[in-house]
Point group: C2
Chain length 254, copies 2
DNA sequence: GGTTCGACTTGACCTCGGTCAATCCGGAAT
DNA sequence: ATTCCGGATTGACCGAGGTCAAGTCGAACC
């Protein structure tokens, strides 16, 4: 992604929601102009992270929610023995940090996959604003709900799909989000490693590697390290649906 | 569970949060008495479902959140081809229905696993009340956040654990929730079928069946159809932790 | 009390994806 | 330019768990 231009953004550090190109994809979506100004008062400022930089760690006190402005991050949980499970990859416009609402501590971690800039929404201030702007409150609930639904998808992918379908769904989901961002949805730049992808899908890296090769042989993709061209979006979509796996992993087992 | 007594509860249909034994486990947890009365005004009434009865279906308009008062439910998503993925099993005190906040339609389904009674929180009224009672608003956010975290656990279980550990974790989680409800946490009554358990864990029913047998041989459990006695809670806890599976499913794959 | 039906169990077998190991490749450092 | 190193790929092999098939068991119904 265009990490080169992000550096320049620093000059516009105090840039607000009202003028942000992401507003339609972000928290402000569907909020009136006057309320938008109010929301602006809740946005502290922008924070920049380099590749590998941590936005928050397990156990950190809950201070804010975060919106990805540019770049990308991964969120993950890590157990005592150091074992990691990646929960998601987050592109511009996406909001993270909700895990900390329950206990006022983060119970997951967020790490930049590339140079990224982030909007910080200090929760104390956000709460003030939401109490004054009911629409924003509802919008915030909607966003968390979307997070819940997104996790449902992740769960279905892991529980019901074959490895190949999983990778197809993963790529399709990235492509769809590229489209929302008005990027070319057939030219993906994978900011995460193969290890990350494997972990996210509950597979091992060798399997993911083989699957990329197989999809390339099938003519669905052209893969070159981190860049993936989707030659046949139609086929890719097809692969997401096919092979109901363990179809006997039954229907409604009432 | 004691489905016999639930019928009698019908006489107390208009029972409120203030007098409900579950209040400490439910939405009211940590809310002052005066605010509690306010919350009462948002609780419509109780609804009773028989085994197999649907609380809501995919596509249903969002009308309310629901609290399980007695009995148990499963929530699940179902794709076009009828394939099901169970998202969770829900015991008394637990709140469901958050999936509908995003789009004002449910995108999952909830079905009673046994005769169950449910408190309905019509969202329109709930919204009124939360706007008047900020504490309740925060509490509601906390509850959704807990849902997010619970799904993280489900994801880790599916992605990182062996089948045996998965079943151990599932049983342990049930036992822990029994304890919160002050039931005997060593004597579980599985209201869901083996098919449901398998589906929830991303396994097939034969595997689950074999695992129950194995855990019985190991002296951890005594299994008799739907009733499971946990003979060695210590061993069970041990099994939840062991065998980091595909340990090479790496640590932090920066 | 026998029949039926569906949930559950058990066994024999096979496959998908994990394991282990050898290599490739590109970027960074010397 | 050469070395180094970590990510990525590829191959050979293996095993946990899925598949298929044959029971068993208990509850419901006549």
């Amino acid at each position: 992604m265009d990490s080169g231009t992000n550096v320049l953004d620093l000059s516009q550090l105090r840039r607000s929601c009202s003028s942000c190109a992401l507003s339609e994809l972000c928290l402000p979506a569907g909020i009136g102009n006057d309320d938008l100004e109010r929301l602006d008062t809740a946005v502290r400022d922008k924070r920049t992270l380099d590749r590998g930089g941590m936005l928050y760690r397990d156990g950190d006190p809950f201070e804010a929610l975060y919106v990805v402005r540019s770049g990308s991050l991964k969120t993950f949980v890590q157990d005592d023995s150091g074992d990691v499970q990646i929960l998601g990859f987050h592109l511009p416009g996406e909001i993270i940090g909700f895990d900390a609402l329950a206990s006022n501590r983060h119970v997951s971690q967020a790490e930049a996959l590339e140079r990224s800039s982030i909007c910080e929404l200090p929760y104390a201030r956000l709460q003030q604003v939401t109490s004054e702007v009911p629409a924003l409150h509802r919008q915030l609930m909607r966003v968390i709900s979307r997070e819940v639904i997104e996790e449902h998808r992740h769960l279905v992918m892991m529980g019901r799909q074959q490895a190949q379908e999983q990778l197809a769904i993963f790529l399709k989901s990235l492509a769809d989000r590229y489209q929302r961002l008005q990027r070319d949805s057939t030219a993906l730049t994978l900011s995460m490693s193969r290890y990350d992808i494997a972990n996210y899908l509950g597979l091992v890296v060798e399997t993911v590697s083989r699957l990329f090769s197989r999809l390339e042989e099938m003519g669905v993709l052209e893969v070159n390290r981190k860049s993936v061209r989707i030659c046949r979006p139609d086929l890719l979509a097809e692969l997401c649906r096919s092979s109901p796996v363990a179809a006997s992993k039954q229907r409604d087992a009432g």
